[in-house]
Symmetry: C2
Subunit: 401 residues, 2 copies
C-alpha cells in the first residue's frame, strides 16, 4: 500500500538519555525530506501531550536550534511516565483521527513500544491508515532484538569514567567505596565498569548486577578479601540487586515504598541503598573509611560527555524510522541495530522488527559475562561495550607505584 499523505507526530517517553534528542532530530530531518509528511508535530510529554492535544510545531525549527537540541541531554519535547491502558490508547487513536495524523513515531523503551503496538492494532482494526514506529531509547540497554540501545553508550561512558576517576580517588585516600549505578533489572550499565580497569589492581574490584543473586554475607566477605589484600576496595552495585528470593535489597531496607505509575518502586533519586550497604560494611568489618555515592540522574543527563558513536546511532535510528515508514513492507515496527564487526571493524546496520517483539519483555545481561562467584564482570564484556562508548578519558599512574 502506498504511504499516505498527512501529519506526523513524534514523541519521547520514559527516562531521558544524553542522545534521545539526536533521535528526535533524526526524525525531524528525515521528515523534512519526505513528501508524504505534510506537517510534523511534537507531542509535549509523550502520550500525555497527545491526549491533551498539547503539540509543538516542528516544521519551522531552525537548523541551528536543532543541532543544539541534538547535543542536549534529556527529552527536548518533554517526557512522561504514563503507561497507557486500552482506554488511554483509544484516546490517543481518536486524537490521531481528529488531526488526520498518519504517522506516529515514539521514542522510548519497551513500554513505549507496547503503547505503539496497541495504537497500531487499533488503527488496523479500524481500517485507518496509520503508520507507527517505535524508536529505541534506554540507558538500561534492555530492549530485545537490537544489539544495543541508543542512550546506553553515553550512560556507559559516564559510569565507566566516573568509576575510573573514583578508583584514582580511592588509590589516593584508600578505603572502601561503594558506587550505586542505575539498572533496575538489567546490569548492562554497571557492567560497563570493566572499562574503568587498565591495570591489575584497578577498580571496580567488585561488580554486582541484578542478574546475579546478592547475598549480604557473601558481599561482606568479598569486600573483606579485597580490602585485606589491597588496603582499599571500589565496588560498583546496580540499584536493582536482589536476594535469592528475588526481593530487591531496597525493599528490605525501606519501610515506605514509593511506586511510580508502572508499579515500580523508586530506586533512583535517593542515596538509601548506598548508605545501607555502607552501614553493613562498617558494622560487619569494622572498617573506618567506608563511603557510598549514588551516581543518580547524572548518568542519564550529564551534558557535554556523550559517546560520539551513540550520538550518531541515535540520529540514524530516528531517520530510519521515517524511511521505513514510507515503505510498503515495513509500514510499522521498531528500528533495531545489528552489529557487523568487532573492535576496529565495528559497524552497525539497522533493520526493522515487529513492534510486538520489543513491546513485552526485556533483555538481561547474558550470564556468560558474569563470573562464577557472581561478584564481578568478566573482561570479555569489554569487547561488547568498548565500541559503544568510544575513547575513554586519559588515566595515568606514576612509574614505580
Amino acid at each position: 500500500m502506498t504511504a499516505p499523505k498527512g501529519t506526523a507526530i513524534v514523541g519521547q517517553s520514559g527516562g531521558p538519555t544524553c542522545v534521545i534528542n539526536q533521535s528526535l532530530v533524526g526524525v525531524i530531518e528525515q521528515a523534512r525530506e519526505t513528501m508524504n509528511i505534510t506537517k510534523l508535530l511534537g507531542a509535549r510529554h509523550g502520550v500525555r501531550g497527545i491526549v491533551d492535544e498539547n503539540f509543538l510545531e516542528l516544521d519551522n525549527q531552525s537548523l541551528d536550534v536543532l543541532e543544539k537540541v541534538a547535543q542536549t541531554p534529556s527529552s527536548g519535547l518533554g517526557s512522561t511516565r504514563d503507561k497507557p491502558d486500552e482506554a488511554y490508547c483509544q484516546r490517543i487513536f481518536e486524537t490521531f483521527r481528529k488531526h488526520d495524523v498518519r504517522y506516529f513515531f515514539y521514542i522510548g523503551g519497551n513500554d513505549s513500544a507496547d503503547t505503539a503496538n496497541i495504537v497500531n492494532r487499533m488503527s488496523n482494526d479500524a481500517g485507518y491508515d496509520l503508520r507507527v514506529y517505535h524508536i529505541p531509547k534506554t540507558i538500561d540497554n534492555d530492549l530485545l532484538v537490537t544489539d544495543h540501545c541508543p542512550g546506553y553508550g553515553s550512560a556507559a561512558k559516564f559510569v565507566a569514567s566516573a568509576l575510573m576517576g573514583d578508583d584514582q580517588d580511592n588509590r589516593s585516600l584508600p578505603g572502601i567505596k561503594i558506587d550505586i549505578v542505575m539498572g533496575r533489572h538489567a546490569g548492562f550499565l554497571t557492567a560497563a565498569g570493566v572499562l574503568a580497569r587498565r591495570r591489575d589492581d584497578d577498580g571496580p574490584h567488585l561488580i554486582y548486577v541484578p542478574e546475579a543473586v546478592f547475598d549480604e554475607d557473601k558481599f561482606v566477605a568479598d569486600v573483606d578479601k579485597i580490602y585485606s589484600k589491597l588496603g582499599r576496595c571500589l565496588i560498583a552495585v546496580s540499584e536493582g540487586i536482589h536476594d535469592k528470593d528475588g526481593t530487591a535489597i531496597t525493599h528490605k531496607m525501606t519501610e515506605t515504598i514509593e511506586k511510580d505509575s508502572h508499579g515500580n518502586v523508586q530506586l533512583s533519586g535517593t542515596g538509601a541503598l548506598g548508605d545501607y550497604l555502607s552501614g553493613v560494611v562498617k558494622e560487619k568489618l569494622g572498617a573506618k573509611r567506608v563511603r557510598a555515592d549514588t551516581f543518580g540522574y547524572l548518568q542519564r543527563s550529564f551534558p557535554g560527555f556523550a559517546s560520539p558513536v551513540d550520538q550518531q546511532e541515535a540520529r540514524l535510528v530516528g531517520r530510519m524510522a521515517v524511511k521505513y515508514a514510507m515503505e510498503e513492507d515495513t509500514a510499522d515496527g521498531t528500528v533495531a541495530m545489528k552489529r557487523l564487526g568487532t573492535g576496529n571493524d565495528y559497524a552497525i546496520e539497522t533493520f526493522r522488527s515487529d513492534l510486538v517483539n520489543v513491546a513485552r519483555n526485556t533483555k538481561s545481561l547474558p550470564g556468560a559475562y558474569i563470573n562464577d562467584e557472581g561478584n564481578n564482570i568478566k573482561d570479555s564484556y569489554r569487547d561488547y561495550v568498548e565500541p559503544l562508548v568510544g575513547p575513554m578519558p586519559v588515566s595515568g599512574l606514576l612509574t614505580g607505584l
Copy 2:
C-alpha cells in the same frame, strides 16, 4: 642567601582534585630545570609518607607518563588526611635532615599550609637551610590571599554542568529535585550553579550556601513558591548548610556522627542530607515527585572534563613554587594568584605570600553574591566564576517552549 643544593620533596594532601596532578607535574618540570635540586622525591600519601620514609623516585618519570598523570584526576602520589601536630612536624623535620632535604613543596589546602608553616619555623629555629613552599589546591576555593584556588574551576565546571543537565531532566519529567553539592563551610562550589542558567526559567531555581542561615520552614516555602509557579523546581544545596545557631543540618539528622582526624563530621560519601530534605519537602508540601542526588566524589575526581584554564593555572603554580624557592627574597611562602582582567581580558599573575597568611583561616563566599532572601546566588557571581570554568556544554531548547 644563595639557594642551597640538595634533595627536594613534593607531596599532596587533602581531598583530591582534577588538577592537583598538574601542580605536581609543574613542580617536577621546573625542578628538572633547576640546578640546585639534585634529586626530587615524591612523598607517598603526603606527610605520612615523609615520616614513614615512603618515597617515590620522580627524576626518571618519562614525559609521556607525566603528561598522562597531569591529566588524571586525584593525587598521583597519594594523599592523606593526617593533620600534623608539633611532634608530627618534628618527625617530618628530622626526616628532612636525615635525607639532606633542602626543599619541601606541599600541595594542599590551608591545613597543608599550616603544616608547611610549622616545619618552616622548625628549620628556621634550627638554623637549617630548608625552603618550604605551599602550593594551593582545593575545590572549595576557600584559601585566603589568592583570587581563586586551582581545583575549583574544574569542580565548578562539573557542578554547573551537572545542574544544567539535571535542569533539562527536570523540564522533561517535572518535579522537585534537590542536588547536594560539596562545601562544608564555603559556598563557592554550589554558587557555580549560576552558570547552569541561560533562560529565565532555568534552574537551579534556589541555591543554598553555608554563608546564609538555612531555615527549614523558609526552605519549604521557597520550594512551594517556585513549584506553584513553574510546576517544577531544581535546588542546589551545599552539604554544609546550617541553622541560625550554626548547627549543621546534617548534625540534626544523624545520631551517629562520624568524624575525621581534623574533628570534622563526615558530610560527603553519604546521601543522607539529600534524602532528609527530600523527605521534608514530601511531607510538608505533599508533592509527589521529589528526588535528591548527592554529587559526591565525582565533583573532585571525574576525569576528562577539567577546565582548561584550571589545568594551566594548576601547572603554573607548581612551577612558580620551585622558581620562587630559588630566590633570595622569596625563599618560603605560598603561591597565590592575582586576577588582572575580567571577561575576555581574563588573565592572572602569580605572587608569593607568607605561609602564615593562608595557614590558619579560610575564606567565605562574599555576602554580596548572596541574594537578600538567602536562597539564591546573584548573577553577578557569573563574572567571577565564568573565566575559571571556561566553555560550558551546549544546551538547546526547541523554539516555542
